[in-house]
Amino acid sequence: MSIPTHFNSGRSGQGAAYVSDHEGSEHARFMRLSSYALAPLGVLSAWWLAGLVGETLEGAKAEIGRPFPAIVLICFAIIGMIHARQGMTEIIEDYVHDAALKEKALHWNRIGSIAIAAAWTFGIMLIAAPK
């Protein structure tokens, strides 16, 4: 699958830039596609996250425990953290050149991103679960 662009690819010609033998273009394409989902999710999530400030715990739970906010926030965290893991991989590959350290950083990035999405999702599920 390719996304139409104005750029020429050396391999495939006009309009199909995301082709490469390596993982780079797959990566770039994923960042784009995930960002299309994250844009609306991000605006809605920002709204509900801002609502947490100054709220009592009970009030905050009532607010984000409603089905629509709960589902949007969970989608934002899961898609967001897959996107963030890919993005952080890119950052690590750019700046960490020591091979062993790079492996370690990529490893903790994988674990960290999953842990964050899991903790977030689990927290909201507990909040939203019918008592």
Partner: protein, 135 residues
């Protein structure tokens, strides 16, 4: 990874935020800001995940939840996170426009750099003002 020849070739390729090729500093700053807000959001999401887990589970995590929800510093952190979301989001739209070959000339680039800087601040203020009005 393992292949020495591939590694050697990879060494020769330019890295992405290629500081040496940047000149107009606002576009450079916005490019860096996209990366910084991305990494900052990673941290921010970690903090919010602990908050949500604390709110759901109770127990010792409650302390963090209370701090984030009612303290000044907690409020500032959430404010910064919403700004980072908006700024990074506009940075993403900028990338999407560039992917289509739009706004790539000098004026276009500068315009997008300014739009993401001021747009990010503006949308953040708008959000908190609307939030204050909505109660």
């Amino acid at each position: 990874m393992a292949n020495a020849e591939t590694d050697a070739r990879a060494q020769k390729r330019p890295l992405s935020p290629h500081l040496t090729i940047f000149r107009p500093w606002l576009t450079m700053a916005m490019s860096m800001a996209h990366r910084i807000t991305g990494a900052g959001l990673y941290l921010g999401m970690a903090l919010l995940a602990l908050y949500l887990l604390g709110a759901g589970m109770g127990g010792w995590l409650h302390a963090l939840t209370g701090w984030l929800a009612s303290g000044f510093i907690g409020g500032m952190i959430v404010f910064l996170i919403t700004w980072a979301i908006f700024h990074h989001l506009l940075g993403g739209i900028r990338h999407a426009l560039w992917d289509r070959g739009l706004y790539m000339d000098k004026e276009g680039r500068e315009l997008l750099a300014k739009a993401s800087l001021f747009g990010g601040i503006g949308l953040t203020l708008l959000l908190w003002i609307l939030k204050a009005i909505a109660g």
